[in-house]
Amino acid sequence: MTEKSWMYAVLEAVQAEMRADPAMTWIFELTPPVASTPGRPVINLETEFGRKRVVNTGIDEMWMVGAVTGAGLSGSRAATYIPYQGIGMTFQMLQNHAGKLRHMTGGKASIPVVYVMEFTGQTPGFAGQHSDYEMDTAFAHLVGIRTVVPSTPYDAKGMMHAALRSPDPVVFIYPAGLRMLMEDVPDEPYEVPLDKAAVRTEGSDITIVSSGPGMQISLEAAQRLQAEGAGVEVIDLRVLKEMDSATFINSVAKTKRLLTVDMSYYTLCPGAEVIARTAENVDGARYKRIAFPDAPPPASPEMFLWMRPDANHVFDAARRLIG
């Protein structure tokens, strides 16, 4: 057990899987698969496994995603790391190929591949293209692809092991805003399931459902609400597809109040799906969702920070909902 960052934890899982499976490959551009943490050896997949298995390619995300998909079809496990610049370029390969081939081939095709998608940290100043957090819904909408978004280093490592061992293609969202988050993570391999949400705090007055980069502000708000005596159940979705509905439906059946928190745009954000599924199964509940407005993130920190959901927004909205 050592304190590790999100990325160190992930690369530790990748390193272990690549050591165990000499056929496994990793493709990256711009972002070298390197991570360090105090008290543990530096991980550098490129130097450890060599450039035949770990490829630094040009700026061509379509190829990166298509190539690991093809590697999967050839019988090898493979993973790629798509920096935030290029996740949109991956879409056709995922939407029309990786997600459909197993079904279209009557179960004959298998794509044991992981696509790490870096989502930016919604950093003030970088404007529309470099500070959005907007594609979680888009990936979750695709069929045949599992989409996960771990919010802690512990989950990230366990879900990476599970994703790499899964016979299905997995979109593994890396909310880069969590890059500074550290926690104790076991050094040995372990799995966190790809189909289970996590209940982070238990309570009976309100359910707050979030994921990935929304978790920190949700937990901070919950702490303040609890200090005021409110019972808050915070649920970390962890998995956008296949979404674990039972966990939040059972919770709202108890609390009758549901607040969803998303850093992505309001329309069709994951919270919209959460609310819809809950409404189909729970009578008499009240709902509210927090999300980024349906506008690109502007460069100006004054504009951007006003628009980005924060812990105060969550706290205030939850209070209003509790009434």
């Binding site: 040009g58 970088f126 404007a127 293209q129 969702r289 100006s300 927004h313």
Partner: protein
Amino acid sequence: MGYERDDIGSDAGFRALNTTSRRGFLRIAGLAGVSLSLVSAAAQAEAEIGFWAKDLSNEKLVDMFRTILRIRWHERTMADKMLSDPDYRGYNHFCAGQEAVAAGCCAALRNSGPYDQIDLVFSTHRPTGHAIAKGVDMKLMCAENDFRATGLNGGYGAEMHLSDPSVGFVGADGMVGPGPVLATGAAFAIRARESDQVAVFFGGDGTYATPHFHSALNNARLLGLPFIYVLENNLYHQYAHYSFSCPHTDIAEAARAYGIPARVVDGQDVFQTYNAMHEAVDRARAGNGPSFIEAKTYRYYNHWGAPGATAGELGAFGYDPLAISSFRPEREVRAWMQRDPVNIARATLINWGVLDAGQAEALETEVRAEVDAAFAWAAEQPLCNPEDGLMHVYAEGRAIARQFG
């Protein structure tokens, strides 16, 4: 084929090259014998296309030098502010070292007039040099880069999204890839409406690997579009040498494979970039289709820089701390700095008798004052109104605030 930088990789070589100009040759013909012997035939062939730069008016030549100085001092001033001014917030993808590409190429374009008549430039995430060379107001750009409400784009875009259609600067783009495709679309429209405009894309060596590079060239050639691809090969895409992403030494070879006339020029020499661009613009306006120019150049600073940096720490801004795959050797940086575009332009103009050393110095003093004034004006500008972030999503109306639940 083409120019090889190693042939003239020294100051002496460059001076020799410059002395072969018409003006300089006449002036120092009696001394030139030794120098001439240093010039490689290949270098001369690519540099001397049509002799256009040498035939420009003194005023135009000085303007090109002034543009280089304005870009350089904008870069240096911004870097200094990042290191020294705690109130400064702008970041930059530095282009110091690459000024002669923007300055020479844009000098061959039509930069003022109605929007349907001026030439259109599509730029990159490293746009400030192109913006200045195309005629973007430096004050407004400085304010935009510092997220001010009265900045060029109202604080919505900042450095990677600078845009000023009034001078034909369609805009910067933070993504590597889409730019040339968008520019060929503009060229397609230009041809369809029978305008004599040209559409220019500036891109780096990193663009070669993108599917867009190949799509843009293929379609530009198939349709014979008035499109010019200026590839600034500064050897590195972010932190990786271009040999990681391109098998060609000269990326121009790829353009030739698509049937597009291509030149490889010394991107440190503004007169070479001007000549190549002049030829390409003539071709496009005459309806003879696209051109490709590969300018060999170099950025002196990191991939990018941000405020709060400390000189000498984490490479600010000398080396790339994230360059794990391929560091830039310091000797490489130093070698390129010996072939500085400011020095080359200055020496050439002095050699041609356009300026003397005193006049060159006075010009630089004037430019520095202008740049200082632009940054000072920007620092006085108001910050943005938070709620205005909901504007400009569509032509009309505002988005609804959703962050409050």
